[in-house]
Every structure is written in structure tokens, then in C-alpha cells.
């Protein structure tokens, strides 16, 4: 079984139903942030793969986390690879 697959993600504010961690969802959101920050697609995929692996390593010992925690940890890891993408990733929900 994939690491992180059984981790329960509690959504923001607890208003929406929680869901299982989905690796592809995290990967795609990081790719989107990297491309938005001007990274080429290949580099974006590589960074997303590394960040997703790091987040899954962090999730390995946790049965339940909030979506905010996942975003925070992913942004921290992403910052070491691409600070501009991390900015966009962190602030995506505060654009509007």
C-alpha cells in the first residue's frame, strides 16, 4: 500500500467532510504552483515528485492531519526547491 494512503485529511475549518490523502492531488497542485512561478514543466514535475515524497514521509506516522498542515509542510519543502512557487502555493487561497 502507498504510504500516506490511509491518512485522514481534515478539511479547512472542519466544515467539509474529511477525505483520504491523495498523492496525485498534492502532486498536481505543486506542479501548478511551479508552472505559475515560471518553472519549465519537466522541472515542475521533478520538484513536485520530491516535495510529495517528503510530505508522504512526514505523514507516515500520522493517522490524521488537517489540510492546512499538509499545505504548510508542502510549502516549507517547496520553498527549498523554488521559493516563488512556494509563495504562489501558500497564497493561492488568498488571491481572491
Amino acid at each position: 500500500m502507498e504510504r500516506g494512503g490511509l491518512v485522514n485529511i481534515v478539511k479547512r475549518g472542519g466544515a467539509r467532510a474529511s477525505e483520504s490523502f491523495r498523492r496525485d492531488k498534492l502532486h498536481n497542485s505543486i506542479v501548478a504552483a511551479c508552472i505559475g512561478a515560471g518553472a519549465p514543466t519537466g522541472q515542475a514535475e521533478t520538484i513536485a515528485k520530491n516535495v510529495t515524497e517528503a510530505v508522504m514521509g512526514w505523514l507516515a506516522t500520522k493517522p490524521e492531519v488537517t489540510s492546512h498542515d499538509v499545505r504548510r509542510v508542502a510549502a516549507k519543502r517547496l520553498h527549498t526547491h523554488h521559493p516563488d512557487a512556494a509563495y504562489l502555493y501558500e497564497h493561492h487561497q488568498t488571491i481572491l
Partner: protein, 237 residues
């Protein structure tokens, strides 16, 4: 008010309109989602272009509607109390913009109803073809009506007393000038500027933009008050 002064008022009102950030935020999100979904540059360009055209069309239609309604009620010259209401609205909205335009905290979150913001955000994510992007442009201007109603109202009041060809010129000037901020973001983003850079600039300068928008509304309110109401009262028109 002569034609030059009238068109200057319309231009300043349109600049105030251009300084509001809702459509710019939606355009930023639209481009971000489109790039994130790995759509081609050409497709992303079509989406963002349709959005800008939609916003322009809705602005044009709203100003034409305001002018038509005022023209139907008051003919070619509205009474002074209507001008006074418009000036009061400009100053009031200016003070509201100074106090409340952005929500506290990081980012460029606006004081629009969260239901609107969520709807726009979800629609932006779901937008896949240019027709949807066009309608999103229309909707984003309507969502901003709370702030743009005052500059639209004063522009309409100015326009209805102009000769018909100048009314058309005024409407076109307003529509084009009000799109300046959107067009700037569209050009920069289409030319390859990263969205992170544009968003960082917007966040770093949000206080200035808020001050400029509110200040310009108040200045416009006082200018129109002096130019129209006080001049009429002094019998100099």
C-alpha cells in the same frame, strides 16, 4: 460642464474603476488554473483574452444601462439633488475603500461576500473554454458592482448631458480606461511574466492601491460637487 471637463471626469472615474482588484484577482486565478491544468499557451491566451473581453463588454453595458435609466428619468440634465447623491456616494465609497477594501492578513483577499468569492473561485477552476471565460468576465464585473456603482453613476450623469456622438466617445473611453489594469496583467502574463511575480507586486502594493482608489473617489466626489453643484448654485453654468 463642457465636453473636455466631462470627458476628464469620465476618464478619472474609469481610472478609479480600473484600480479595483476583483477582476484582476479572477484573471490571475484563471491563468494559474489554466497553466496548472497544463493547457497550451494558446488555449490559456484564448481563455484570458475572452475573460478580458467579457469584463469590457459588461462594463460597457452597465454604463450604457446607467445612462439609459438616468436619461429616461431626467432627460439630458439631472437635477442637482441627484448630482449631490452621486457625489455623496463617491465620497462614501471612497471612505469605505480606505477602511475595508482588503481583508486583514496576508494575500489580496477582498471584502466581497465570501459566497461571491467562493463562486468565482470555483467557476474559475471549472472554466475550460473561451465562452465560459467570457461569462466569467461578465460575472466578475457584476460582483464588483458595490464599488464601481459610484464611478459608473457619476459617469452616466456626465454623459447624458453630452451630444449623442460624444456620449458614444465617453462610453468607449470609460470602457477602455477601466480595462487598463486587466490589460496590463494580461499583457505581462501573456509575455511570460510569472504569476508569482505579479501576485507579489500586488500584495506588496495593496495598501497603496487601496489608498489611491479611495483617495481618487473622494477627489472625484469633491471635484464634481464643485464643478456642477456649486457652479449651478452660483449661476455660473
Amino acid at each position: 460642464m463642457d465636453i473636455v471637463t466631462s470627458l476628464a471626469v469620465v476618464t478619472l472615474a474609469a481610472l478609479v474603476h480600473a484600480s479595483f482588484q476583483l477582476s484582476v484577482s479572477v484573471l490571475t486565478l484563471l491563468r494559474s488554473h489554466s497553466l496548472g491544468a497544463k493547457r497550451s499557451k494558446a488555449r490559456t491566451l484564448r481563455l484570458t483574452t475572452s475573460f478580458v473581453i467579457g469584463a469590457g463588454v459588461m462594463t460597457l453595458l452597465l454604463l450604457a444601462l446607467f445612462s439609459l435609466v438616468l436619461g429616461q428619468f431626467f432627460g439630458s440634465d439631472a437635477p442637482d439633488f441627484v448630482w449631490a447623491v452621486a457625489c455623496g456616494l463617491l465620497v462614501g465609497v471612497g471612505l469605505v475603500v480606505w477602511s475595508f477594501y482588503y481583508r486583514r492578513g496576508k494575500g489580496t483577499t477582498l471584502w466581497i461576500p465570501r459566497v461571491f468569492a467562493r463562486h468565482l473561485s470555483e467557476r474559475t477552476k471549472a472554466t475550460k473554454d473561451p465562452a465560459e471565460a467570457f461569462s466569467l468576465g461578465l460575472t466578475s464585473v457584476i460582483s464588483e458592482l458595490l464599488f464601481i456603482a459610484a464611478p459608473l453613476l457619476v459617469s452616466a450623469l456626465v454623459l447624458i448631458h453630452l451630444p449623442a456622438p460624444w456620449q458614444l466617445v465617453g462610453i468607449i473611453i470609460y470602457s477602455l480606461v477601466s480595462l487598463l489594469s486587466l490589460l496590463s496583467i494580461w499583457v505581462l502574463a501573456s509575455a511570460g511574466r510569472p504569476l508569482s511575480e505579479l501576485q507579489k507586486w500586488r500584495e506588496a502594493n495593496k495598501s497603496f492601491l487601496q489608498f489611491a482608489s479611495g483617495g481618487a473617489l473622494i477627489v472625484l466626489g469633491f471635484f464634481v460637487y464643485v464643478c456642477k453643484i456649486l457652479t449651478d448654485a452660483a449661476g455660473m453654468s
